[in-house]
C-alpha cells in the first residue's frame, strides 16, 4: 500500500506533529507591545490565542518570541521580563536588562514552550515604580502539537 504521509488518513495525509510555522509578518502582542511605565508583575497567565488575534492557535506547543525592554535603573538594578509554562517547569525565556546603561534597550529573541492549554505566563521585574518599558513584544512563529 502506498502512503504519502507519515500515517494513514483521509487523502493519505496528516499534518506532521510538532510542525513549526514561521509567520510571514510579525504579530504584535495585544497586551504587552508598547506597555510603558511598568512595575513588578508576578507570573501572570497570557492567553496566546487572544493576545495574537488568533494567529497562535489554541493548544500551541511553543511560540517564537522577540521583545525589547528598558528600565531607567538598569545600571544598578536587575530588571527583566521572563516567561514560563507553569510553576512546576520554571522559567525559560528571559530578557534581562541588568548592567546596561540606564534606559538602554535589552533585546532578546527565543522560544517559549506553552502549558497544556497552549498558554504561557509572563513576569516583570522593574527596578523602581513604573521604571520598566516594554517597547516591543512580537510573536515570530508557533510550534503546533
Amino acid at each position: 500500500m502506498l502512503v504519502f504521509g507519515n500515517s494513514i488518513g483521509e487523502g493519505n495525509y496528516t499534518r506532521p506533529q510538532g510542525e513549526v510555522v514561521w509567520f510571514e509578518k510579525q504579530v504584535d502582542s495585544n497586551h504587552y507591545e508598547g506597555l510603558t511605565s511598568q512595575s513588578d508583575q508576578s507570573m501572570t497567565t497570557l492567553n496566546l490565542e487572544a493576545d495574537s488575534n488568533g494567529a497562535i492557535p489554541k493548544g500551541a506547543k511553543a511560540v517564537m518570541v522577540y521583545n525589547f525592554i528598558k528600565d531607567s535603573g538598569s545600571a544598578s538594578g536587575q530588571p527583566y521580563l521572563r516567561m514560563d509554562a507553569g510553576s512546576d517547569v520554571g522559567n525559560f525565556f528571559v530578557n534581562e536588562a541588568s548592567g546596561k546603561t540606564n534606559d538602554a534597550q535589552s533585546r532578546a529573541g527565543g522560544i517559549q514552550n506553552c502549558d497544556s492549554n497552549g498558554d504561557i505566563r509572563v513576569q516583570m521585574e522593574a527596578t523602581g515604580s513604573g521604571t520598566l518599558d516594554i517597547d516591543g513584544f512580537e510573536y515570530k512563529g508557533v510550534q503546533l502539537r
Partner: protein, 139 residues
C-alpha cells in the same frame, strides 16, 4: 509626610525620582519614573498606596493575593500578610470528578529589602575635589 523626595534625574522621556516612603514602621529608599512635567511630591503623594503595594510585591514576589470585597489592593495585600503570608491551597477535580489538591497551601518567605540610593554625581564630586586641590596649590 509619608514620602520625602531626595533627588530627581531627567531621562529621555520622563524623570526618575528618588524618595523615601514609610510603611509599617519602616522607611524604604526607592525610586520611580514620573512624567517630566509632573510635580514630584504631588504625583507620588497621590500614588502613595500604589507604591506601598508595590513595595509589598517586592518583598513577597510569589504572593497570590485575593482581592477582598470593598478593600483596596493595598488593604488586600496587608490582610494577606497579616494572615500569615500564605498562598491558598488550590483544589480541582480528577478525571472521575473526585476533588483533589492541585497545590498545597504555601507560606511565602519575605525577601530582604535593598534600599536604592540616589546616584552619585561623579562629575560634581571631581569638580569639587579639583577646586580643593587648586585652593591648596594656591596657598
Amino acid at each position: 509626610m509619608a514620602i520625602t523626595i531626595q533627588s530627581s534625574r531627567d531621562n529621555a522621556g520622563d524623570k526618575t525620582v528618588f524618595f523615601t516612603i514609610s510603611h509599617g514602621g519602616k522607611n524604604y529608599k526607592w525610586c520611580g519614573d514620573i512624567p517630566k512635567d509632573a510635580d514630584a511630591q504631588d504625583f507620588l503623594d497621590a500614588k502613595s498606596d500604589t507604591l506601598k503595594a508595590e513595595i509589598l510585591r517586592k518583598r513577597y514576589p510569589q504572593a497570590e493575593v485575593p482581592q477582598l470585597d470593598g478593600k483596596s489592593a493595598l488593604e488586600s495585600f496587608e490582610a494577606w500578610v497579616s494572615a500569615g503570608a500564605k498562598n491558598a491551597e488550590v483544589k480541582g477535580t480528577d478525571a472521575d470528578g473526585v476533588e483533589i489538591t492541585i497545590k498545597a497551601e504555601e507560606t511565602i518567605a519575605k525577601k530582604a529589602w535593598v534600599d536604592i540610593e540616589p546616584p552619585v554625581d561623579q562629575a560634581a564630586l571631581i569638580a569639587d575635589l579639583m577646586k580643593k586641590v587648586e585652593a591648596l596649590e594656591a596657598k
